[in-house]
């Protein structure tokens, strides 16, 4: 198991956003997470990455208890993430964004990271814009940059938060191919996505979150077939 969550809970004041979540993710898996807005998906990511600290429960990464380990250390251990709302370093160029992530996420000399960064840029179709200031990117490129920057930290576990939202069909296909490639290289992936067909074409298991609780986990077909999930998720009466 690369990642284990045991009864992890998180509240903001009276609001319980993550409610005794228990999950195990084997190494190399691609896990999808779905759930309605505000279900606590992004919060779960924040707990795994250390951007938020859990109120209760235990988080293990690579067999080590990381429940109270700060975010920057978890990155160095191999937890990479993208943000749902892209958070580029706006004053830096795309390349510098990656370079920062590579230099600090992996820990190494800048000069040794250049080729790796260039390769990631190529893979995420950002190479052309390498020297453009991130603040001026379009939404699509920002999402690409989120992915690219997360990759640059050299993650063993990659957390993707809604990176396909708002992409056209073609863009989405390319993205799916990219993520498949990353997965194929052995990186464990957890992916929050509303664009279900994209998600289901990559992940092996699907987890449904509602009100901070896991209400279903299993093979995508099974989960998608369940009436409750469809109702909760799309709000459409089937």
């Amino acid at each position: 198991m690369i990642l284990r969550l045991e009864n992890v809970s998180k509240s903001f004041g009276a609001l319980k956003v993550t409610d005794a979540v228990t999950i195990s993710v084997p190494r190399g898996e691609a896990l999808g997470i779905i759930g309605p807005n505000g279900a606590g998906k992004s919060t779960l990511f924040n707990l795994i990455t250390g951007n938020l600290l859990a109120n209760a429960g235990r988080i293990e990464f690579l067999g080590r208890d990381v429940t109270r380990v700060p975010a920057m250390e978890r990155v160095r251990m191999g937890v990479g993430r993208s943000f749902q709302i892209p958070q580029p370093f706006e004053g830096l160029t795309v390349f510098e964004n990656l370079l920062t992530a590579a230099a600090f996420g992996r820990g190494g000399r800048e000069a040794d990271m250049v080729d790796a960064c260039a390769q990631i840029l190529e893979e995420t179709e950002l190479l052309k814009k390498a020297n453009v200031v991130a603040g001026s990117l379009s939404l699509l490129d920002r999402k690409r940059l989120e992915l690219a920057r997360a990759l640059a930290t050299g993650p063993e576990l990659l957390l993707l938060d809604e990176i396909a939202g708002g992409l056209t069909e073609g863009e989405c296909k390319a993205l799916v191919a990219t993520i498949r490639g990353i997965h194929a290289r052995g990186t464990t992936i957890i992916w929050i996505e509303h664009v279900l067909h994209a998600l289901t074409s990559v992940v092996e298991r699907l987890l449904v979150l509602d009100f901070g609780r896991v209400i279903g986990i299993g093979a995508p077909d099974e989960i998608m077939a369940s009436k409750a999930v469809r109702e909760i998720y799309l709000g459409l009466e089937v």
Partner: protein, 233 residues
């Protein structure tokens, strides 16, 4: 009554809206749907003057209001329930409500009592700080606060976000009563079913553009899926 004309908006160098045209008629209920980041909230902020634009990009009864401050827009009778509710933490529930009608005191059905009748739970909690309420109750306060000015147009940005289905039902149950008070309503929603149930017309947005404009009754799920996700379902 309200129209946008080629409305554009940016955050710094980042452009979030690309020429959006929508219209809301007197007493009408319009739904705006779209995925995360489609620009729905940005559209709402542009209409209410939180983001300022060229004067002519937003028209209210034919007058350009695109460059007005949010306070001036509000005084014209356009009230908003902002995304995330945004109650004032230092104010009690009652004060949160009162402040909504403090500046613009138009004639109309809505006052403190009427709001308490609409959402009775708030009467019990009126001395509590606004932020001590549950999410649904907070949403009720936010709606009540906007109603207090007796607006002619009410903009609701994701009023069901993060709420339990029962609570969502309660809140949506209030919408017809609000419309009965004479206000036109715009609801921004990701919950397509809910949106379609209340709206007369629907706009779907994607990446800062309107990708679908239709009568709610006439629209098919297919169309929505296409406009929402950018492809056939």
């Amino acid at each position: 009554m309200l129209q946008t004309h080629g409305l554009t908006a940016s955050y710094g160098q980042f452009r979030a809206l690309f020429g959006v045209d929508i219209a809301v008629g007197e007493g009408e209920c319009v739904a705006i749907i779209g995925a995360n980041g489609a620009g729905k909230s940005t559209l709402m902020r542009s209409i209410t003057g939180v983001i300022r634009n060229e004067p002519g990009m937003v028209l209210h009864r034919g007058e350009p209001i695109g460059a007005l401050s949010s306070a001036e827009v509000m005084k014209r009778g356009i009230a908003m329930v902002p995304e995330g509710r945004r109650l004032f933490p230092s104010l009690t529930v009652e004060e949160n409500l009162l402040i909504g009608g403090q500046v613009r005191k138009a004639q109309g059905p809505w006052n403190l009592e009427a709001i308490y009748d609409l959402f009775p739970i708030l009467r019990e909690r009126r001395k509590n700080p606004g932020t001590a309420l549950s999410g649904g109750q907070q949403q009720m306060v936010a709606i009540g606060r906007a109603l207090m000015s007796n607006p002619e147009l009410l903009l609701c940005d994701e009023i069901s976000l993060g709420l339990a289905p029962v609570v969502i039902r309660d809140i949506y149950a209030a919408l017809p009563k609000i419309r009965a008070g004479g206000a036109a309503v715009v609801v921004v929603e990701q919950d397509i079913g809910k949106a379609l149930a209340v709206a007369d017309r629907v706009y779907c947005m994607m990446e800062g553009r309107v990708t679908l404009a239709a009568q709610a009754a006439a629209v098919s799920r297919q169309d929505i899926h296409a406009a929402y996700f950018g492809e056939a379902a």
